[in-house]
Symmetry: C2
């Protein structure tokens, strides 16, 4: 991993309170994918948290360090130091750090699909922070700690009122009666950049539904801007009992092809 | 401020996800107040997050750096580095950092009481994390950013279902029909160490109530283990309109005296 040498000072508010934001960006041959969507989400987060948005050239500077091939650039922006306790400083000096790592997608998951499970943890409802990729991610960490079986690729999260939201590190999509759907993220969850880009290109309805909606789905996917789209072939309950199975078909591949076009990944093999 | 020289490495999970815990401890002449309560809360947090609890002598080591007089010791414990994304490492190597700062309590707030307000932000409900002093504190930061008038000492927080929980950095107590009460913290909020110690010594009922309970109170306080207990003389709505006023009386002073005994602060002047 190549990274800016400096870590975080002891008094940084990101380290103290999770008072900041991050973006995880797929980079191919030094060029970022979905850059506009990443900038837009970061800018939304800065607006909500009251952190000045860095200039684009500052955010893009680490790309010069990326060589040929695939890498992931992680940008972390905090409110910096200062303030009295939780109270933010009136004139914050934000702090930006980056990490660049080589990356290879998990192609077998594209081809064969994945098994996922329901998590026990329910996401708290916080409309102020919904959609943002902020640094308060203990819910994701605890949800991901619910299983250690590598055969299970992701875990689904509902909110505290039982609505489907997302997977621990990916967004969730499905097709029901021919209609593409994804959970509305007005109360919690992270609005992924691939999700944003897909919603501009495909007719995807944002819905408030419980997990029973998945049982009526012809196809289900989990997807993000780094891994692409994984078709779901099996869904387990939190206790390990299977509650849904799907056979891969053309609908799976069409959605996947659109996601992979956006990320510069090869089109899926036809099923 | 005296602190361990090192900050946080770029890949520390505390800085990345708020994956850790902290304690803020009042220290007098090198001796911590409510040490057992701080250790107990940290241990509870370690148990819930799955972070190994450091040995007491490691946690106490920074106390040797504190000189005469009052100081605040902040201990921050993270899960350390490692893991794949949100997934915690199977064998975490926790990282402990500390900061020691001189401290002087705000005596005028003890004597004259304080004005507080309701916050607009509602706390998300997350029973798994309720009571813990973890590093995901963006809600507290955003709530504290709602006002900048120094005449307002604290802001009250309700949960997303409208129940009273706490103030942004203090717990909340009141007396109603002669009975001491404090919000139950089963769904969200931080269980303060002074609150724990007071509940062992006084008959304080934990209740699930909305903010209207305060209007029926004879006395209201906000309190924590560093500042002691501030009697509330005025409560404003989020729009600045006053919704409650209290005159200081013997009930205020009795509760305050108990809190200050626990912290080694002088007893309040009689009213």
């Amino acid at each position: 991993m190549i990274g800016a040498a400096a870590g975080w000072p002891l008094d940084d508010r990101g380290a103290a309170y999770g008072d900041g934001l991050f973006e995880t960006i797929l980079v191919r041959d030094g060029r970022p994918r979905l850059w506009d969507e990443h900038l837009a989400r970061l800018a939304r987060g800065c607006h909500v948290l009251g952190i000045p948005m860095p200039a684009e050239h500052e955010l893009a500077a680490p790309l010069a360090e990326a060589g040929e091939g695939l890498a992931v650039l992680k940008l972390t922006l905090t409110r910096g130091s200062g303030g009295r306790g939780y109270r933010p400083p009136a004139d914050p000096a934000p702090r930006l750090r980056w990490q660049l790592s080589p990356f290879a997608p998990q192609e077998s998951r594209w081809e064969e699909g994945v098994r996922i499970r329901h998590c026990r943890l329910r996401l708290g409802i916080q409309p102020l922070l919904a959609g943002l990729k902020h640094l308060n991610r203990l819910e994701n960490v605890l949800a991901r700690a619910e299983w250690s079986d590598d055969a299970i690729a992701e875990g689904l999260l509902c909110d505290s009122e039982g609505r489907l939201v997302e997977a621990t590190a990916m967004n969730l999509f499905w097709q029901r009666d021919g209609q593409l759907e994804t959970p509305r993220l007005a109360r919690c969850g992270v609005a992924g950049t691939l999700r944003e880009a897909l919603m501009e290109r495909l007719a995807i309805a944002e819905v408030d539904v419980g997990p029973e909606a998945l049982l009526a789905a012809e196809a289900v996917w989990v997807a993000n801007s780094v891994q692409g789209a994984w078709p779901v072939v099996r869904l387990d309950a939190a206790d390990g009992q299977p509650v849904g199975r799907w056979s891969l078909g053309p609908a799976h591949r069409d959605f996947q092809a659109e996601a992979h076009r956006l990320l510069g990944y090869p089109p899926p093999a036809s099923t």
